[in-house]
Every structure is written in C-alpha cells, then in structure tokens.
Symmetry: none
Subunit: 201 residues, 2 copies
DNA sequence: CAAACCGCATGACAATCGTCACCCCGAAGT
DNA sequence: ACTTCGGGGTGACGATTGTCATGCGGTTTG
C-alpha cells in the first residue's frame, strides 16, 4: 500500500512542483493539497493522510500552528516541515509540536521522499544543519544587546540608537562590541546578519 | 521537437520539484539544472537551451545578473524569472535585461509550462500583479554601486569589498558615498536597507 | 580634433566605529 | 558589614567610514 500524503504550501507553483516531485515515487500518493493551514487542517481530518508535508510561513495559520493543532486533536498523521529557514528557534517549536521531520528547501530533492518514508516508518528526519545547532547554539545575546543590534542592523548610528534607548552613546558602543565579540563578527552589520539568520533578533 | 529548458534555482528541493513538474509535460525537456547563476551561465552557453527558467535570489550571481549576462553575449535563450518577490524594481530590471517572462511563485502551477510555451513561441508573460506597477520609481543606482552596496549590506568592510571586486578601497568608498547620497541615506547600512526594500539589490 | 564623459584612483580630513581599561552604584549573598 | 555582580557610564586610541576635490586614461560626440 502506498503512503498517502497531504501537502500544505502557500506558493501554488511550489505546491504543484512538490506534488509533481512526489508523484514520481510509486510508493507515495499525494491525496490532497492546501495553500494554508486551515484548509490543511480540515483536509487532514477528513482524509487521514499518513504523512503531512507543510511549509512554515503561510497566511492565516502557520505550519507550526497547524502541526500543533493536529497534535492537540490526537491525530496520527506524522508531520514533516519543509522550510527555507534554518532557524533553530523554529526547529525547537516544531519538535515541541511533535513534528517528525524538518527539512530545508535547499536539501537535495530526493530527501523529501526519503523523509516521508522514514517518518512513515516511525523514524525522524531532521536537517543536519540544524540537528546539532538546536543544541549548542543557544542565543548568547542579552536583552540590551539584542535591542541595540537590531537598530544597528537597520542602519541607525550609535548616537541615534542611544537616543532611542535612553542610553549613552558609549554604552551603546560597548553593547555592540560585546555582541560583535559573542557572534564572532567583524562589525555591527555582520553581527546583525548572523543574529538575524539564527533567528535571534 | 520538444522545448529544451534549463532551470536555475538555489534551493535544491525546489529545483528538483520544478524539474519534476516540467517533466510531466511531454513537449518540455529539462536539459540542465543549476543552483547558482555562474553554473547556469556556463551550462546555458554549452547546451543552448531554448528557454531558461531562473529564480532571482541566488548566491553569487542573481537571476537578474544572469539574465543580463546572457543578453550581453547575444544569447538566443529566452529567460523566464520565477520569484517570490513582487517588487516592481525587480521586474523593471528584468525587462531591461531582456527577460521574456516574470512569474510569481504563488501563481498556479500550470502557468509555468504555459509561460515556457508562450515565451518559446516568442511571446511574453508577465505576472498580472506586476504588469501595471512596473513604472514606479526608477532605480538610481548603477551597476557598480549595486554590487558594492550589496556587499556592504552583508557586513563586509570597504577593504574586503575592494578585494572581491578588484577595485581600490578608495573607489569602493566613493561608490558607497554616491549610493548613500542617491538614496538619501545616512550610511551604507541604511542605504542597503532602502535599496533592498525597493527591490534594487 | 577637441570637448565632454565615464570608470577608476588618490589623498586628505572629519566623523563614526570598535576596543579596552576602569569607574559608579544599587541589589544580592553570606 | 563586606564582598560580589550586573547594568550603565567615561575616556582614550586606533581603525574604518563618509566626503570631497582632483587626476588620468579611454570612449563617445559635436
């Protein structure tokens, strides 16, 4: 018997493409498609697919909320998240929602079918870039550093940041220096980029 | 004879999925895939595909630069841009680069094959959301300013940018100063932010 | 042909940034 | 009461950034 799959993804073109990709596998059957979390939830309840593949960023209900909702209702479907974002924070929330797979969109194409099979068998499949990162890379920034870094990343000068946060300019520079050091960056811009990319801003 | 197509898209999973989607059409043949602009350029030169489908945001060389490079070399291939971003600035630059199609990733899946056929026939296909909005505000940046600004926005220092682009550091600073002035920004970071948001990077 | 541009480079100067050592003070611990 | 600690601050110094005037070899173009 083939594995029944539901796909949720808000960009129709990508949705169609993913479906086409999976249609090529004889042991996988795409039984439904949804372009947002709410539709996906209804369809999942009605069709009881073996596996659900979902994006995170969708209008209305995100993939994470969707996974959580499925879990609440004691649903058997195993969920695989497919997303652009390698943010440890997302992975955390996904695992908390009982998600069994977390793939990045820049993983090789065969991995999706693999992941579906693995997860259907009861296994887990986490993008290697994140498997470790979820553990070791905790956000090293404190509150002030985050605030300052966020503004610096928008292009505000130290003096302006100081004004906005009611700090002295020197202090702002100290925080920035700290943040730059903690993130292993060479300057505020790079630091902001790194932090954003990790989902810490 | 079927239409030969090259696909460039940095997210492998999506790349594979798009290829699968097109494989389903009997009159379309995916002859090559690339995950960045440079590879795409080489492959396009070697294989002379009828149509090139490319994403915009790719590491190294963007889809727009790629399209431009193809045009420079007097290449016959017709280019279709497929992107998430409905930024008028992108469309304008795409059209300037001689691009024949501009689709959004949330267009219906069948549109891609349609667009390929239309473009192959010599027609154009522009996402309706953008067809009108194209004449918004002009991009005041020239090529060098764009390159320099992009790197500056990533957090590279002037000296590093100079090394990467084989320019002197002073020249890099001059270009940045120009760009900052044109965009009404106060520093490189703000300038990069403004340009990005307008779709000029 | 000469004028006008263009892309790139220099050099200089002021402003801003990044770093570091050290200070102040109010809360906690013990 | 005496330390310790954390948030915030100061001052100074070198590196980087932003600005501007100026120069120089190629292309256009009148």
């Amino acid at each position: 018997m083939s594995i029944s799959v539901l796909i949720a993804e808000d960009q129709s073109l990508i949705l169609g493409a993913l479906a086409a990709l999976l249609e090529m596998e004889q042991d996988i059957k795409v039984v439904a498609r949804a372009t947002n979390g709410k539709d996906a939830l209804q369809l999942a309840e009605k069709l009881q697919p073996d596996v659900v593949v979902t994006d995170i960023e969708m209008p209305g209900m995100t993939g994470l909320e969707f996974a959580d909702a499925l879990k609440q209702r004691g649903h058997a479907a195993r969920v695989i998240i497919v997303t652009t974002f390698a943010r440890p924070g997302y992975l955390r929330r996904a695992l908390d929602a009982g998600v069994r797979g977390y793939l990045l969109k820049d993983a090789p194409a065969e991995q999706l079918a693999d992941a579906i099979r693995t997860v259907h068998r009861g296994g887990k499949m986490i993008a290697p870039e994140l498997a470790t990162a979820a553990w070791d890379s905790e956000d090293p920034l404190n509150d002030r550093e985050r605030q300052v870094l966020r503004l610096a990343g928008e292009g505000f000068a130290s003096a302006e940041i100081a004004r906005q946060l009611f700090l002295s300019e020197g202090t702002v520079r100290n925080y920035l220096s700290e943040a730059i050091g903690k993130l292993g960056a060479n300057n505020r811009v790079e630091a902001a980029r790194i932090a954003r990319q990790k989902g810490w801003l």
